[in-house]
Amino acid sequence: MTGPGGVVPGGVVVVGAGECGTRAALALREEGYAGPVTLVGGEPGHPYERPPLSKAVLSGAADLTPLCTPERLVDAGVTHLAGVAATALDVRAHEVALADGRVLGYERLLLATGARARPLPGALVLRSHADAVALQARLRPGTRVGVVGGGFIGLEVAATAAGLGCAVTVVEAAPRLMGRAVPERLAARVAARHAEAGVAVRCASPVARLEPGRIVLADGQVVETDVVVAGIGSAPETALAAAAGLAVADGIVVDGSLATSAPDVFAAGDCCSFPHPLYDDRRVRLESWRAAQEQGVHAARALLGDPEPYAAVPWFWSDQYELSLQVAGLPGAATEEVVRVRPDGAELWFGLDAGRLVAVAGIGTGTAVAKDVRIGELLIAQRAAPDPAALADPGVALKPLLRAPSPVG
């Protein structure tokens, strides 16, 4: 149905059909919204989960995991426009233009445009299913794989490639791995596990340039490669918002309820920068599967009028080999640290600031640390100031440190 000037009228338009946008579209219905919901995504196909792309999908062990069944979108009355990018936003007219020439009118708009991998000319990146397919085709036993960047993506690719029998070298500019998100002690354990798997990890090794068949490091050393993958971070996808005049500063700037500087336009997920009430309203931009999901649901409520600020504790995980790493909170906010080594070999790291717990990280086999990290997350949300001696003692159960039994939520 089109109105004057060929504009499809009304309703909610969600730009971005990844984890965040798709969850938001479904949540609108769960919250009782009855108007039109249109989900616009630049990628072809049904919305899917990104985390397996660097693990089971890349190794060939599993197919894509859909975010929901196709029927669920249909049943929810969500119109999914796949493979159509949004190209322009007119916030005064309340219209979004699409690459195929269509123009969608909206009453409320959610930008869930995500982030894109920072490119490195000559290297592959891993963000989309298409990226994973292209990379997987190159990973064969004996393939010399150069990974630029020792963060989550680079290291997960390295672990998967090593598992496929590739000869892997990771080069990282910083003095250690995962410096942005993971405490040093846990990162060292990950580094040791990579070494055990035969992966050459070279920290403090900035790249000067890529040449065909090799990485040239700043110190002149050379890493011979058959394929190079860059995992050097991501940049928020803000072009549409910036061109429309929205405030952008390392992400689309939103307030506590995820509203942008333009009326009736919200932003959520990797693309947005929001004030975090647990961290003195410091602006935070998260590249996190769970935050994408939670912010999508939160944005759906917000654009229907719920003023509640988004305050969920940031949470990340990474799987490499049999090890799983989980991080809750912001380790960078800690000024004091406490380590707990459990009898099963799993380790927990607690970060405190002025006595308050602000971050928890854990590493162990499989899901060994999940429960403790989750309790740590609840403690962070409660602004708890637990006794450091209790945190360090593996004989002290963490659950009783919670202030009161509250439902998981």
Binding site: C68, W289, A370, K371, R374, I375
Partner: protein, 104 residues
């Protein structure tokens, strides 16, 4: 043919916690509520088949240790994304300090 299987001793499960139990190649999760009632579900999450027994139990809810999918462990009901499918539950009974679950 449904049958009652001894899963564990009541003392094996802390109040408001969960343990795993395997029988005939299948994994089950056995829960003890704060008021000492026992419940059982499939051992794996319906999302990515992670084992539920490493998850946090609070307020009648088990939370998957990997992706935080949540289920009401008394009914098996999935409580929202990422879990879309309820987890199967099994009847339980306690006799002489042993927890039994009825498996198909």
């Amino acid at each position: 043919m449904p049958q009652w299987i001894a899963a564990c001793a009541t003392d094996d499960v802390d109040p408001e916690d969960v343990i795993s139990f395997e029988h005939a190649g299948n994994a089950y999760a056995v829960y003890r509520s704060p008021d000492d009632a026992f419940f059982a579900t499939d051992g794996h999450c319906t999302h990515e088949r992670e084992l539920l027994c490493d998850g946090l139990v609070m307020g009648g809810v088990i939370e998957c240790p990997k992706h935080n999918g949540r289920f009401d462990y008394t009914s098996g009901k999935a409580l929202g994304a990422p879990v879309l499918v309820d987890v199967r539950t099994y009847p339980t009974k306690v006799e002489d300090g042993t927890v039994y679950i009825e498996v198909p």
